[in-house]
């Protein structure tokens, strides 16, 4: 694997809820290489968005905080650095695309204003006219047709897909080394989704930026990502290359997720659904979080947390945290 741009090491993020602090990201570690696309997969509440917000350090105030761990951007630890410094990282080194384009643009500023603002942070003191011209260029890069006119439009005058392109333009405006896309296509129509994914791929080909793609849709991961990590209840339960994980899912949760993807080749009578609910946020729990829903549960699963072990695919980076990894399915 290429030299990693971003390394997350043993990250632990807490939410201080009324009932006490709760770990929403729990001992999470992963690397992202230059030009690589990493998928983070999980149900809602699995901690995947919180991981992204931790990297950007825009956790919900005042209840969210990074408890421990390291986030290394090209070797420099972002945890614990000053607000001033992290602000220079945001937008310039790491860009981010949020889930819902309908709410992520500020309704009272026009498109040009919101894009130039992102450009300006990188180049303070640039005349407004130059910035505006560059905003048009940036919008063209994300395939916004008629960009010269669109910079005067307000968000409510644009379609969802168009808004998400603008958000994309804002993300790439600072020419970041890494873009975090948090379910960027969930709120879009299916046809628009595909266009948007294609766009992300083009951007990556052109700029060589790394992408962290957060989703619950394994189909997208298979198409877009090189590697993936699967999160459940704040922890990474399995990680590896797309080929390894899809070829030989080792964690029962991954296996269940794969089974629940509708597919044309696999003729299923009905869609597979995982029994039970994802666990509620709690402070302490013994054993594996997936145990209550796991079809292969062993006694030890309920007592002790599983350790990470090499997956059966034999892939170098394929790991899973499960006691019953040798099971026969």
């Amino acid at each position: 694997m290429a030299e990693p741009v971003l390394q997350v090491k043993n990250l632990r993020t807490m939410l201080d809820l009324p009932g006490g602090p709760v770990p929403v990201v729990d001992d999470v570690s992963f690397d992202v290489g230059v030009g690589e696309t990493l998928g983070i997969v999980g149900e809602s509440g699995s901690g995947k968005s919180m991981t992204a917000l931790s990297i950007m350090q825009v956790l919900p105030k005042p209840i969210g905080r990074i408890d421990s761990g390291h986030i290394l951007l090209e070797g420099i630890d972002l945890v614990g650095i000053s607000e001033q410094k992290i602000r220079q990282i945001r937008g310039r080194e790491i860009g981010m695309i949020l889930q819902d384009p309908h709410t992520s643009l500020n309704p009272v500023f026009n498109v040009g204003n919101q894009v130039t603002e992102a450009l300006q942070i990188d180049n303070p003191g640039t005349p407004h006219k130059t910035l505006l011209a560059r905003a048009v260029d940036t919008l063209k890069k994300v395939n916004v047709a008629d960009a010269e006119r669109r910079i005067h439009a307000y968000p409510h005058q644009l379609s969802g897909g168009m808004k998400q392109r603008v958000v994309g333009a804002i993300a790439i405006a600072g020419a970041p080394k890494i873009i975090i896309a948090d379910e960027p296509t969930t709120a879009l129509d299916v046809t628009i989704q595909l266009q948007y994914l294609q766009l992300l791929r083009e951007i990556q080909d052109e700029t060589g930026t790394a992408i962290i793609f957060i989703t619950h849709d394994l189909g997208i991961v298979a198409n877009l990502c090189h590697r993936l990590v699967v999160m459940y209840a704040g922890k990474i339960v399995e990680s590896g290359t797309v080929a390894d994980v899809f070829g030989a899912p080792s964690h029962p949760y991954t296996e269940a997720l794969l089974k629940s993807v509708p597919s044309v080749d696999r003729k299923l009578d009905r869609l597979y659904a995982i029994d039970g609910q994802p666990p509620a946020l709690v402070t302490n729990r013994a054993g594996c979080s997936f145990a209550p829903r796991c079809p292969y549960v062993l006694d030890i699963c309920r007592i002790q947390e599983p350790l990470e072990s090499r997956g059966p695919s034999g892939g170098a980076s394929h790991c899973a945290s499960c006691w019953n990894i040798e099971r026969t399915t």
Partner: protein, 306 residues
């Protein structure tokens, strides 16, 4: 935008018609104005000639139209208390004093309440936030006229920092303006706070932070510009309570503005002056609300183009 302005303008005119009709009707409610204009021993000829002169023998709606016509050019007749002036002249003469005081009160409210509301929201749950909450509760419960007197007692009588009452420069204006502003500060702080809390929680504020915008700009540009819509709608209400405030505080501090004029005119049974003050207040109030609507549209593009 033009259509929006025209609609609001026509709504304003309807309200104004309703108010003029009420004012007009009130003047005929308690019998003929002749009684108050002529001495008790007036001859029938005198009564008849005055009745004809005032047009009181004509049908009600004709009288109303005449009233409207006169009101449109600011003619409400002569003041009965301030002899030798028309009612409109009396009101206009007092107007600058009220505008000075009201302007200062608005300035104080905005300068105090907006930062307080924003900071309360940004530092939600802090000691500062809780203190602002107490100020808000007190603001709702303090009767303004009593607050004025207590301010006068503490800062003018005991401490001697300001003159007790009367007309003059800034030192004379501070206490009544603070008295007028107090309630607005409470209400405006609360509104700003809740609006900011809502906006600070949105995705676009999150995205602004993600872009790398500094925190001051996140708060004042991205969040406040959106949150400001709520306090601005309140300015319409503010105009109404400023009217009440000016009547109360001008009475307390003997500030010779239109509010005090209204009270004096009522005591002196000077109906033309009361009429013109009431109509003037009404026009001011409606105009303020109209401007607020337009401002609202300028700030929020969704309304402008909607």
């Amino acid at each position: 935008m033009l259509r929006f302005v025209l609609t609001r303008l026509s709504q304003m005119l309807v309200s104004l018609l309703v108010i003029t009709f009420i004012v007009f009707s009130l003047s005929h409610l308690t019998g003929s104005p002749i009684d108050s204009l002529l001495p008790d021993d007036a001859t029938p000829q005198q009564i008849a000639s005055l009745t004809e002169h005032l047009g009181l023998d004509r049908p009600y709606y004709v009288q109303y139209l005449t009233f409207l016509q006169n009101a449109a050019v600011g003619d409400f007749g002569d003041s009965t208390k301030w002899k030798g002036s028309t009612a409109a002249e009396v009101v206009l003469e007092r107007l600058p004093a009220t505008l000075q005081l009201g302007g200062l009160a608005v300035l104080i409210s905005v300068v105090a309440a907006i930062p307080m509301g924003v900071m309360s929201a940004v530092r939600r749950g802090s000691i500062f936030d809780r203190m602002a909450g107490v100020v808000a509760l007190l603001g709702q419960s303090l009767p303004a006229f009593w607050l004025g007197i207590v301010l006068m007692w503490i800062f003018a009588v005991i401490l001697g920092w300001f003159p007790t009452s009367g007309y003059g420069g800034l030192t004379y204006m501070i206490l009544p303006a603070v008295g007028m502003a107090w309630f607005q500060i409470a209400a405006l702080t609360r509104l700003t706070r809740s609006a900011m809390l809502e906006v600070l929680d949105t995705e676009y504020v999150k995205l602004a932070r993600i872009k790398g915008v500094n925190e001051r700009q996140v708060i004042w540009k991205h969040a406040f510009r959106n949150a400001a819509i709520v306090p601005i709608t309140y300015f319409g209400v503010l105009a109404g309570s400023l009217l009440t405030g000016s009547v109360v505080m001008e009475t307390v501090f003997a500030w010779p503005g239109t509010g005090l004029l209204a009270i004096d005119a009522i005591r002196g049974r000077d109906f033309p002056v009361v009429q013109s003050v009431v109509l003037f207040f009404a026009v001011f109030y409606l105009l303020a609300n109209f401007l607020v609507d337009v401002l609202y549209a300028i700030i929020d593009p969704r309304i402008r183009y909607g």
